[in-house]
Subunit: 175 residues, 2 copies
């Protein structure tokens, strides 16, 4: 059975929308994902907003309340009938997120065993055939085939097979 | 550069001694590691003590205060000059331990980057050449060469190269 590793933020969890909603409400702005095209989040945030905006990522509650990416639960459940699935998230970058990420998975993906969850840093440690991830550094580190999940910051990347949403993941792996 | 993955409990952290100290004080007992020879912890604990003794492993503070295994810091630092080192601990079995384990590593092994830390369940997900671990199930799951770190419960196991302490790890990997 082939093994698929799946990233959380911006793949299973719609972290960018969650951030923008909080940011816009907080600062009276109207940034949308279109404004982020080809850019990282902190390239489009006003300089004087950055300290408070960065602080969102130090709040356990921020991670606990991220919306689930459309169709991800249904497709992951289907993938599990034909593949080994592991969830591999770079939680070591944000230690405050450990519990929130674990509880979020228990709530929204209760069919994924804790035995299949990995909190890591560098994803070169992940032994899997495929990694579905939005992060270019992690796709570069990974030793199997990286599949790029479209996020505003990675739209210009050409080196990997690309999926734009979970229906595209379903087509790629379940035909 | 070859990569070594290293388990925490009973390898870097002297979890059994820590448990026995607490258990003996709590129940006025005098169990020692000799009593555990060839057995798992909960095979030697009196039946009526088990619920409270199991509860130690649900206390964050228990994990935060485990003593460091002798020579482990010095030898791991030396290994890092010739190998990639990752710390791979089955923290998903005890979600209450996430923060304590992270802080414990930061305190006692500050030279290990969070990027090299992995909290997982099933260690078949670990991509490394070697895994130093006391747990037979995890050594069986791992895809590289398992090196068994001696603990009372595993003394009768013959399938792996064995290390009895950190000086033995040093001799095996640094000659």
């Amino acid at each position: 059975m082939k093994r698929i590793a799946i990233d959380m933020d911006e793949v299973m969890a719609d972290t960018i929308s969650h951030f923008l909603e909080r940011y816009n409400a907080h600062f009276g702005m109207s940034l949308s994902t279109d404004d982020l095209y080809g850019k990282h989040l902190f390239e489009v945030i006003q300089e004087d907003h950055k300290p408070l905006a960065r602080d969102y990522f130090q709040q356990e509650e921020f991670f606990r309340t991220i919306p689930v990416m459309p169709d991800s639960a249904e497709v992951i459940k289907a993938l599990m009938t034909q593949y080994e699935v592991f969830i591999t998230t770079a939680a070591m970058d944000v230690p405050c997120s450990f519990h929130a990420k674990f509880q979020w998975l228990q709530e929204h993906f209760p069919f994924i065993s804790p035995q299949q969850i990995v909190f890591c840093g560098d994803k070169s440690i992940v032994a899997a055939d495929y990694l579905i991830d939005d992060n270019l550094r992690q796709l570069g580190n990974f030793r199997g085939e990286g599949i790029i999940y479209t996020a505003p910051h990675n739209v210009n990347e050409k080196r990997y097979r690309r999926v734009d949403n979970w229906r595209a993941v379903e087509r790629m792996f379940l035909g």
